[in-house]
Symmetry: C2
Subunit: 768 residues, 2 copies
C-alpha cells in the first residue's frame, strides 16, 4: 500500500501536501520511517515549504477564523520544517520530567507540551525518571543532591526569580536541567528554553544562568471601571469587572502567560486617575479572582489608591495623611485586602497632579502621603509606588522643572517600601525627551522608571513604532550622578546607589483587540518592555530579532530587513512629528495629530505654543540659564554641554534652546531647512517601511499582512499630515522657503486647524 | 509497515488518536482504504469519539488559542464523521460549477469551498461544465434556457431575494442547481444548502423554494461614535470609526457573512440617540468603506438621523421640517450620501422621545418630520424608519398609551417610503409584554417591528434566554384588526393590509466580545431574529434545533435536551424577574437587577413604583376602564377578555389589573402565593438548566463549556437575588407568609436597596 501511495505522490505533485501529513504521521512511529521521510523531504523540499503554510492555515480554517489574529503573540511554536534543526532538537529533547506538582510547575510542563506539539506535531513524552536527553524541571530544593551541589556556583549567581538551564550528566545520563530557587524561576527558565527553540538556536549544550535585574517589573493599566482605557488604543479594558468574579475569561490566563513568558511579575489593574470604588468589598472580590488566576504565573496584582478614598469610599471627613483616623482607615483597608489576597502587591498613587486629590490639600507633603500608605501595607510586605508626574497650574515655572523641585528636597525621607515612580522624561512620554533629571538627583530614594508602552503621543495604534529603541536610549543616558557611567539603567536597577528595592513600570497598550494591542507591531513594545524590565542593558536590536523570530519567522530574508525597519521606526516618528527637540505639539486633549497652533486651553502648560515658543525670531524652549534654567537640574558635564548651541546633541536642540530660524546647524543648513528636511525624512522613512513590508507577504499570515499594509498606509498619510501642518504653521513664523526635496503642503493652515476629532480614542472619560 | 503500525496501535490504546490521523490521510487516497478505515472505526469507535474533540483542539493549539471562542457562530462546518452520511454527501456533491463572476457569487463559491473543506477535509472541485452531482450556482438570467423554463413555476413563487434549490436533470446529468433572480438570492440559497448539510439532512433530492416574507430585515446598532454601545453587553462597538476608512478589519466581512447567512439585508450603524457628526463628510467616508464591504453580501447600510442635524452639523438656525432651508439641507445631505453610497438604505429616526429633538419643537407633527426626510431620500429609493417609541414627561397619561395616541390619528398620512417602527410591546422590551396596540390600529401605515436582541431587561449577557420564543409569542398574537387571525406577523409582513413596504428590526447584541455576543447563547438570539425576519411564521423550536445543530452538534442526545432548555429559558426569566404581568421593576438607569422600590427618578414613568403600584391592598397597573383604560386601544374580543379578572390570561394579569394580594387565581392559591411560587419556579428552572448543561460537556468545546457553566452560575445567583429582593419588597405590602417551597430571603430589604452598580455595562454615555 505504501508503494501505491508513493507512486501516486510522484504522479501528482499537488498531493505533496498529503504526503507531508503522511510523513508526519509516520514519524511518530519509528525512526526508520523518519529516514524514509527524510528522503522524501529532499525530493519535495521546495514544494513542501511553499505549501506548508497554506496547508496549516487551511487545516485550521474550518475550526475557526481566528488563525490570523496574532492572539498568541510571541508565543508562536511554529512547526520546525528545517530537518537538520528538527533532528537535533528531537534528539536533545526526547521527553520531560517535571519534579513537583505546584500549579506553576504544571504551567511550565503544559507550556513545554504545547510547544512540543507545535514544533514537532507530536506529543511530548512525560517521564518520572532521569533518562538521556529528557528535559528535567525542578526547583533547587527538589534537585538530587549531586545536581544541586554541581550547580552551587550558578545558584550563587541568581536571585529568587533567576534560573539555570544546563546540560548535565547524572546517573550516567546526559540531559538538560531547568532549575531555580523558586517555582517561578523554573517557569521563567522554561520560557527561556522555549525561546531558544523558537529562534532555532542550538539547544544541545545549553548553559544559561540568568536573573532579572529589576525586582518589580510591572504593567500599569490605565483602565477605568467602566472598561474605557485612558490613552488606550487597542479597544477597551480586558477586565470585565461587571462579570467578575463569576466569569473567569480565558484571556485572563492568556494575559498572565504572556507576561510570565517575558518576566513581568506585577500588574496594576486600574487607572492612576483612580476611582475609590475599587477599594470596596464588591470590587476586592473581583480583584481577588484575577489575583488567583495570575498567582501561579508569578504575577502580583496592585491597585491604584485614590488619595481621598477614606472620604469617598469610607465615611471619614478628611483624607489628611497625618490624621489618626485616616491612617487607621488605610491600615484596616490594607488588612482587608490582604485578608483576601495575601500576595497583594500594593498601591500606585497619583496625587496632587492634574486634579487628583493628594496630601497638599491638608498642607502635607508627598512624603507624608506616601509614608502613611507605606505604613499600612508594610506589615504585609506591600509597596507604595508614588508617582512623580506632578505639575501645578499655579506654579508659573517651567513644567519640566516642577517634579524635580517637588521631590528632590525629600531625598531620603521616603519609607523603605516606597518607590518614587518617574516618567522617562520631564514632560510626558514624547517621541523623544532627554532623561528625567530626577534620575540623577535622588541617590537616597529608590526611583522606579515609568515608560509608556501605549502610544499616546506616537500615533496611537495606527503607527508602527518600535519603542525598545526609545527605552534603550533613555536607559543608556549617563546621569553623571556618581561620576561618568552612572546610566539611568544603573539608577533603576539599584546598582548606582546600592538600592534594595527596584522597579520599572510600563503603561500597557493592551485592550480587547483580538491581537491584544491593535497594531500587531504594538506587541513588540509589550514584549520589549518586558525584556528590558528583566535586563535593562539589552540591546534593542537583540529584542527586535527575538520578537520577529518568536512572532513570525526565523528566515533571515525576513528577520534582517524587518529588524532594520523596527530600529529605524522610532527615529521616523520623531522626524515626522517632533524633530530636533520639538515636543508636545500634538492636538489638544486626545493628542491625535498635529496641533502646534493650539493656544486656548485652560492651563498654559497644556498648550503646544507653551512648548515650542515659535516667533518670528525662532523656535524652541530656552531652558538654559537665560531661560527657565531647567538645565541646572542636570549634572555636569551635561549642563555645560547642553548649554552650548554648538555642543548640545542636535536631537535635543529645541528642547533646551530658542534658536533663530536662520541659525546654521552642523550640516551648514539653516534651522528652518533642517526642520523641514527632518519632517520630509520622516515621511520618506515611512514610505520605505511600507515598501519593505510589501516584500514580506510570504513570512506572515494573510490577515496580519493586510492589516499592517493598511496601517502603514494610514501612518504614511498621517506622517504627511504632520509634515504639512507643522511646516505650514511654523512657516508663518520663519517666512522662509521650503528647501529642495520638501513638497509644498496640500492645504492652507486654516484647513489643518479646522480638523476636529471629538471621538478620537483613548481620551479621558468625562466622569473622571 | 502497515502491519507493524496496526500492531502498535493495538498494543497501545493511547495511539488511537494517531490512528485516526492515519485513516484521515488514507481516506484521501482510495476507496479501498476507506473500507480499511471503516473496520478500524468499528473497533476503535468509542475511543476515537472521545479522543476526537481533544485531538482537534490540540491540533489547532499551536496555531492559535482561539479555537474555543465561538467566533464562527452558527457557521460551523464540522467534519462529518458519520460514514453513511459522509458517503451519500460526497456522492451527491462531487464538485461545484459557479456560473458568473460577481463578488456575491464568488462569496457563495468561497463559502461552499470552506464548508467542503470542513465537512470532508478536502478541497472542493471546481468545474466549468455540467456533470453528474456537481452543484450548479447561477442567477436565472444565466441559466441554460431549458433549466430556466423547467423552473418557471418555482420562479413565479419567489421574490427578488428568493431562491430555488432543486435536483434536476440536464444534458443527461443529474445535479443540484441553486438559483434565484439575483446574485444575493443565489447566496441565500447557498447558505440554505449548507445549513441542510450542517444539520445532516438528506441532500440527494432537494427541492426547496423559499423567499423572505419581509423586505427590510435590519439590525439596529445602538453604537455611539466613541464605540460605547447603549444597552450593549458584549464589549464595545465593532465599528472602529477612528481607523476607518483606512483600516478594514476582518470582522466587518465576517459580520456581513454571518448576517447574509440568515438573510439580514440591512444594518443601521449608529445609535437612535444620534450624533449629527456621522452625517459629515469625515464620517460619510467611513460609512462608505463599510458599505463597500457589506454590499456583495446583500446588506445595505443605514444611519440614524438626528433631527437637529441641520443646526448641529449644518449651520442653519432651525430644524423646522416645513422650513424650505431645512428641507433643502436634508435633500442636499441625502444627495451627498447617495453620491458616495448609491445603495444607501435610508435613515432611522428617534424624535421627540427621551430628550431627542424632533418636530414638536416647531409645533409640527411626526408626519411632518418623517415626510420631510422621506422626500429627501425618495429620489434615491431610500426609506425612513420613524420610531414610535415616544412618551412625554408632560403627559400625565399612562405611558403605555402614549405612542398609540400620538400616531394612530395620523394613519395613512405618512409618505410611501416611511415605515413606522414600533417596539413589540407598549412599554419597553420587558421579559413579557402584551403586543403593542398600534399593530392592530394603523391599517394604512406600514408598521415595522422593533425587537430587542440585546438583553437590556433580561440579564444582559450573563443570562441564557432564548428570545425567539419571546418573538414568536408576539408575532402569533392576534390583533383582531381585520377579524380573527389578524396576527402581528400578518401586520408586519404586509399580508393583513396588502402593504408594499415591510420591515423588521432587531436591536443588535453584537460587540467586540470574541464570540460577538458575550454569552455564546446570545448568538442564538441573533440567529433567531434573522430567521424570523426571513419567515415570521417559523416555530421557535425549529430555530432552536437549527441553531444547536449548526453551532455545536447534531447528536440527538445533545439537541433534544438543549432544545427543551432553550425553549424553557424564556419563561424562566419571566418567572424570576417579572411573573404574572409585572413589568419594569428593574433597577434604575442601567436596569441591572431588581429595583421595585425605586421611586425617586426625575420622571414618574422611569420609576418602577409607577409600573407595579403595590400597596397594602394589592399590586398591578389598572389599565381597564376603571384605570388608565389602555385596554381600550386593543380590539374586541381582547378588550372584553382582558377586562375580566377571570378570563384575562394570567401572564398579563398585573399588566392590566390591580389585584388584591389575597385574590385567588386559577390554581386556588392567592395572588401573593402565586407570585412567590413563580419567582421560586424561575430559580428552579435555572437550576435545572445548569444541571442539564453539565451533561453536555462532550458536545461542546472546553472553553464554551466552562464559560456557559460559569454564566449559568451567575444567572442562578441573580435569579435568587431577584426572587429574594422582590419578595422581600412586595412582602412588606402583602404582609403575608411565603408559601411552602419558597425559602426565606437571605437579607433584609435595606441590604437589597443598598446594592449599587455605577459601572454596570451598557448605560447611556453622559455626553448624550
Amino acid at each position: 500500500m505504501i508503494k501505491q501511495i508513493k507512486h501516486k505522490i510522484k504522479l501528482n505533485a499537488t498531493d505533496c501536501v498529503k504526503c507531508f501529513v503522511f510523513k508526519l504521521f509516520l514519524s511518530n512511529f519509528h525512526l526508520s520511517n523518519l529516514i524514509f521521510c527524510f528522503v522524501f523531504n529532499l525530493i519535495y523540499h521546495s514544494m513542501i515549504l511553499k505549501k506548508l503554510s497554506y496547508f496549516l492555515i487551511l487545516c485550521c480554517l474550518p475550526m475557526n477564523s481566528f488563525s490570523g489574529t496574532g492572539y498568541d503573540l510571541w508565543l508562536q511554536y511554529n512547526k520546525i520544517s528545517n530537518q537538520e534543526i528538527k533532528t537535533t532538537y528531537v534528539k536533545n529533547f526526547t521527553g520531560m520530567y517535571v519534579s513537583g506538582t505546584s500549579p506553576t510547575l504544571k504551567i511550565a510542563g503544559d507550556e513545554l507540551k504545547r510547544a512540543y506539539k507545535g514544533f514537532f506535531e507530536k506529543q511530548l513524552n512525560e517521564t518520572n525518571d532521569f533518562s538521556e536527553n529528557t528535559l528535567f524541571l525542578s526547583v533547587r530544593e527538589n534537585l538530587p543532591k549531586e545536581i544541586s551541589v554541581s550547580l552551587q556556583e550558578n545558584f550563587n549567581e541568581i536571585n529568587s526569580e533567576g534560573f539555570i538551564i544546563k546540560k548535565i550528566k547524572y546517573k550516567n545520563q546526559n540531559f538538560t536541567v531547568i532549575t531555580g530557587k523558586t517555582d517561578v524561576g523554573v517557569l521563567y527558565g522554561t520560557f527561556r528554553y522555549l525561546r531558544e527553540m523558537q529562534q532555532h538556536n542550538d539547544i544541545s549544550n545549553l548553559h544559561i544562568v540568568d536573573s532579572p535585574k529589576i525586582q518589580k517589573r510591572l504593567l500599569n493599566h490605565w483602565d477605568n471601571l467602566d472598561r474605557t482605557v485612558e490613552r488606550g488604543y487597542a479597544g477597551f479594558s480586558i477586565w470585565d469587572w461587571h462579570q467578575l468574579p463569576g466569569l473567569i475569561k480565558p484571556e485572563y490566563k492568556d494575559y498572565a502567560r504572556a507576561n510570565a513568558s517575558i518576566g513581568i511579575n506585577g500588574t496594576v489593574l486600574t487607572n492612576v486617575n483612580a476611582n475609590a470604588l475599587v477599594l470596596t468589598p464588591q470590587y476586592i472580590e473581583k480583584v481577588k479572582a484575577l489575583a488567583e488566576v495570575f498567582r501561579p504565573y508569578g504575577i502580583q496584582v496592585y491597585l491604584t489608591a485614590r488619595f481621598s478614598a477614606p472620604i469617598e469610599s469610607g465615611d471619614l471627613k478628611t483624607a489628611d495623611p497625618l490624621d489618626e483616623g485616616v491612617r487607621n482607615w488605610w491600615k484596616a483597608k490594607a488588612d482587608e485586602i490582604y485578608g483576601e489576597i495575601p500576595d497583594f502587591g500594593g498601591f500606585l498613587v497619583k496625587a496632587d497632579s492634574e486634579g487628583q486629590p493628594g496630601p497638599f490639600e491638608y498642607n502635607r507633603t508627598h512624603v507624608d502621603g506616601a509614608n502613611m500608605l507605606a505604613e499600612a501595607v508594610a506589615p504585609h510586605n506591600g509597596i507604595i509606588m508614588w508617582r512623580a508626574f506632578v505639575y501645578s497650574e499655579e506654579d508659573p515655572d517651567d513644567r519640566a522643572k516642577q517634579a524635580y523641585d517637588q521631590f528632590v528636597p525629600y531625598d531620603g525621607d521616603f519609607a523603605e517600601n516606597v518607590l518614587v515612580q518617574v516618567k522617562n522624561g520631564p514632560i510626558d512620554f514624547q517621541p523623544r525627551e532627554p532623561f528625567h533629571p530626577m534620575f540623577g538627583a535622588m541617590p537616597d530614594t529608590p526611583l522606579m522608571m515609568e515608560f509608556q508602552i501605549t502610544q499616546e503621543y506616537l500615533g496611537f495604534s495606527s503607527h508602527l513604532v518600535f519603542l525598545p529603541k526609545l527605552f534603550q536610549e533613555v536607559l543608556e543616558e549617563d546621569t553623571y550622578a556618581k561620576g561618568e557611567n552612572t546610566t539611568v539603567a544603573k539608577v533603576i536597577d539599584g546598582t548606582a546607589s546600592n538600592k534594595k528595592l527596584t522597579g520599572i513600570a510600563g503603561v500597557a497598550n493592551i485592550g480587547t483587540a483580538k491581537n491584544w494591542t491593535g497594531h500587531t507591531f504594538g506587541q513588540a513594545n509589550w514584549y520589549g518592555f518586558g525584556r528590558l524590565a528583566w535586563d535593562p542593558y539589552l540591546e534593542s536590536e537583540v529584542i527586535a530579532e527575538e520578537w520577529l523570530k518568536t512572532t513570525f519567522s526565523t528566515e533571515e530574508e525576513f528577520v534582517k530587513p524587518m529588524k532594520d525597519l523596527l530600529i529605524e521606526s522610532r527615529e521616523a516618528v520623531v522626524n515626522y512629528m517632533t524633530p530636533i527637540g520639538l515636543h508636545h505639539i500634538m492636538a489638544t486633549s486626545h493628542h491625535y495629530g498635529p496641533g502646534p497652533w493650539v493656544d486656548n486651553l485652560g492651563r498654559p502648560d497644556w498648550n503646544p505654543v507653551y512648548y515650542h515658543k515659535a516667533d518670528s525670531a525662532g523656535v524652541g524652549f530656552d531652558r538654559t540659564a537665560s531661560g527657565s534654567d531647567a538645565l541646572s537640574q542636570y549634572a555636569e558635564p551635561i549642563r555645560k554641554k547642553y548649554s552650548d548651541l554648538e555642543t548640545i546633541p542636535q536631537k535635543y536642540l529645541l528642547w533646551f534652546h530658542h534658536v533663530g530660524w536662520d541659525h546654521k546647524l552642523e550640516n551648514g543648513k539653516t534651522l528652518w531647512a533642517n526642520i523641514a528636511l527632518k519632517y520630509q525624512e520622516g515621511v520618506e522613512q515611512v514610505e520605505a517601511m511600507a515598501i519593505t513590508w510589501k516584500t514580506m507577504e510570504a513570512y506572515v499570515n494573510k490577515e496580519q499582512f493586510e492589516e499592517v499594509t493598511m496601517l502603514l498606509e494610514i501612518q504614511l498619510k498621517e506622517a504627511k499630515w504632520w509634515r504639512d501642518a507643522c511646516l505650514t504653521y511654523f512657516g508663518e513664523f520663519s517666512q522662509m522657503e521650503l528647501p529642495e526635496g520638501v513638497p509644498e503642503p496640500q492645504h492652507d493652515l486654516k484647513y489643518y486647524k479646522s480638523l476636529k476629532f471629538p471621538f478620537a480614542p483613548g481620551i479621558r472619560p468625562s466622569w473622571n
